[in-house]
Symmetry: D2
Subunit: 117 residues, 4 copies
């Protein structure tokens, strides 16, 4: 990792260290905290239509931004405690997906999309 | 956003566009995809002890890295479709947390930690 | 609990006992297994419209039924290991909800519904 | 379904109908509500050890019981809107699991357990 994520990683590492919270931050526990935050994102959208979810009012959008931040915080912490380079792993995964879903075979079809997943 | 995340965002935007998959990528749907990937991370750890979750074998660690990447991919896509700057939102949230959990009040206590959350 | 759930509870208790799997079935671990199964349900619906999710083909419906069953299995196990009567707790919660969402105040409005949640 | 679950199903059906909330209760939306409730269960346990999760104080246990109830409510609603018999589906799944995890092959081993999953 480098750049912005590296800075966030170090800041979050310090945040946990000075509070003596590393003892709670096992990968197992962090995976639970991450999914709990992901669920708060889901909760914002569960009774909205897809179109409504794309047209949030500013106050709602600010709440959703804070949920995305919470997810990102635990994602960075999980990667850090496991020694995983998040950027490199993601680049590898995108390359994998580009091979797995060839444009000419999956384009523009919900059906094909779903089947391919 | 800038740097590495900006590059990933543009690459993922292109990935969806050339496959004509933007039609599926409403924030509502992306929140579902994100939590489904978060659950695959949880699945790796659900029968492990906390200590075991910190000591994964290389092949398992590679699988976990791919799960973190999947989460990150949908997190970036969600932020992009909502027009949210993920880095800025996360910096704001960390500042908020630093004020919310003052070091001298929460340090080293699981009980205090849990109550404060 | 009584009746059908009681029978499932005893059968699942036996299932775990004869395999010596009680050692893995802490409430913490069971909550992780439960949400992992809930995510498999979500995965079936994440790229479908709401209307499509109400009109599944028979083979898809059978898969979804198996996901609901998996969720129910871990829900029953979690309640059992915690000594919670699932039926009684649910009746109490429905009564609570009936008071919390009075018909005349919340009827027929997505906005009110969302606000009240 | 029969007995207690049948009664809960009818009561929840009435609860939604008189509030005109069926319009929100697509299987897709109910799967989101269900996983959001599952995450609230996870949140109770995320910073606890497995042993602590088995020894909750009465007030915490009451909160956890309410979370299990919320999960059950959306599970019953999801099954109802999909026309799935939850008890029958669960009995089928348990039979499937009994064949999939033969006692003599999986007993007493975390490793085998994990591999078999």
């Amino acid at each position: 990792m480098s750049g912005d994520i590296e800075q966030l990683k170090l800041r979050l590492r310090e945040f946990a260290a000075v509070r003596d919270w590393d003892q709670f931050h096992s990968p197992k526990n962090l995976s639970m905290a991450l999914i709990a935050e992901a669920a708060e994102l889901v909760e914002h959208f569960q009774w909205l239509t897809e179109a409504q979810s794309s047209n949030l009012k500013p106050d709602k959008l600010a709440e959703v931004a804070a949920e995305l931040a919470d997810i990102f915080i635990y994602l960075i912490r999980a990667a850090d405690t496991l020694g995983i380079d998040l950027i490199a792993a993601t680049q590898r995964k995108i390359e994998h997906n580009e091979r797995k879903y060839p444009v000419e075979q999956v384009r523009g079809s919900a059906k094909k999309y779903t089947e391919y997943r």
